[in-house]
């Protein structure tokens, strides 16, 4: 799984990183975020792209796993 660390960066970089990641490996990616804004924005983007999402807590952070 392509795993992207999008913690701590300003808007809209988490979404942009998700966009670049799904262009590279469209089947399955994981995006690590550390705030609800990024989580919601990335989730909205990936859902609109037709991905099914799953969330895994990693300490204070959340790993968003997106699969086709």
């Amino acid at each position: 799984m392509e795993r992207i660390d999008a913690r701590g960066v300003s808007c809209p970089q988490p979404v942009l990183m998700a966009k670049n990641a799904v262009e590279k490996s469209p089947q399955e990616i994981g995006i690590l975020v550390d705030n609800n804004t990024a989580k919601n924005n990335v989730s909205r983007f990936l859902t609109n792209k037709g991905y099914k999402l799953e969330y895994r807590n990693e300490g204070e952070d959340t790993l968003i796993i997106a699969r086709k």
């Binding site: 799984m1 392509e2 795993r3 992207i4 660390d5 999008a6 913690r7 701590g8 960066v9 300003s10 808007c11 809209p12 970089q13 979404v15 942009l16 990183m17 966009k19 994981g30 550390d34 705030n35 609800n36 804004t37 919601n40 924005n41 909205r44 983007f45 609109n48 204070e60």
Partner: protein, 359 residues
């Protein structure tokens, strides 16, 4: 559409409150203006001495405290910082100077359009161009790098400072400066302004309302969530202005505005571009500062200093138009923002560090 209900409602409430603040005493088309209000605060604490723009605007304090209170309640308050703080300070200055050449932040730009001020449409065109330029750098890997968790108290300091300023205001601290004429002398009663700020601050924190984000996300991702907030403010303030008789369509004789099209345009190019690099508009910076983002607090401090410089050096426009110094300053700001854009782009740098896969 369901997920957009909150942002549409928030935009509507901001639109209503903005028009009501004018009714209660704020200058026309200035129910809210983050740039003008921070500029007034800079004058109020004596950082500049332009006599017509000095007041401690409780709306700004309310926005910060509203965001703080709701983010603590909603467990979203997190102290973060360390993402290129001084670069953000400088960008905050540049955005402020651009806004004061136009005479308004993006939120006031919307309110000016809603009041029939066609100069603000020219400003909007510049704003969109600025955002578009900023996006080109984002697509080339622009980043101010990540922030990190810091001690909670670091994040409390900005809301505490705002509370302190409010206490000085209500206590009638004699060293504060207040305009007796001009826009700084026009204001709603203190408590109404504070409550207006608290409500909007809380709603903006929950919905992530951002005037630059709306246009940016539409262009980059065809994501319309935030732009619905933008449009909702516009429509509701427009209706409110018509209902209360404030609507006046045209270029000339607009309140706290000038008709210098080129400089309205270029001032807002700086604002749009700089705000994209910062990750959010001036309103959003206040909200983020309220929820513990000390990089945004530093950005606001940069805006405060930028406002002081803008008036001390004669950069801010007046109703007569842009000043000679202001025109030079816009080009300096564009050069500075360009330099920051290039220097922080992955595409122009050998160092690659951001978000690399580690699977």
């Amino acid at each position: 559409m369901k997920e957009k209900r909150g942002i549409i409602l928030t935009g509507a409430i901001i639109g209503i409150i903005a028009v009501l603040l004018v009714k209660f005493g704020n200058p026309k088309n200035m129910g809210f203006c983050i740039a003008c209000f921070i500029r007034d605060i800079a004058g109020g604490i004596g950082l500049h001495s332009a006599p017509i723009v000095q007041y401690i605007r409780p709306e700004v304090i309310g926005l910060v405290l509203g965001s703080f209170l709701i983010s603590v309640t909603g467990k979203e308050f997190k102290t973060k910082g360390g993402s290129s703080p001084f670069t953000r300070f400088i960008l905050g200055m540049a955005v402020m100077i651009g806004a004061l050449v136009f005479l308004g932040c993006p939120l006031r730009m919307i309110l000016r359009i809603a009041g029939g001020d066609l100069n603000a449409i020219v400003g909007l065109a510049g704003f969109v161009v600025g955002i578009f330029i900023g996006i080109q750098f984002l697509n080339k890997g622009f980043s101010l790098r990540r922030n990190y968790s810091l001690s909670s108290f670091e994040g409390y300091l900005f809301p505490i400072a705002n509370l302190g300023l409010f206490i000085l205001l209500v206590a009638g601290f004699s060293m504060l400066k207040f305009s007796t004429e001009g826009p700084g002398s026009m204001h709603a009663p203190i408590w109404i302004s504070l409550i207006a700020g608290l409500i909007v601050g809380a709603l903006a924190q929950r919905t992530r309302m951002c005037t630059v984000g709306g246009i940016r996300d539409m262009i980059m991702f065809k994501d319309s969530y935030l732009i619905f907030g933008f449009l909702s403010i516009l429509v509701v303030a427009l209706i409110g202005n018509i209902a209360l008789g404030y609507f006046n369509l045209g270029f000339a004789e607009q309140p706290v505005a000038h008709t210098d099209g080129l400089w309205n345009f270029l001032g807002m190019v700086v604002v749009g571009w700089g705000s994209v690099l910062l990750g959010g508009c001036p309103l959003r910076q206040l909200i983020l500062a309220g929820e513990g983002n000390t990089d945004s607090a530093i950005t606001v401090m940069g805006s405060l200093v930028g406002a002081a410089i803008a008036h001390n050096f004669g950069l801010a426009s007046s109703t007569a138009g842009a000043s000679p110094n202001g025109k030079v300053a816009v080009f300096v700001c564009l050069a500075v923002v360009l330099a920051i854009s290039i220097a922080n782009c992955e595409a122009f740098s050998s160092k690659r560090s951001l978000g690399k896969a580690n699977s």
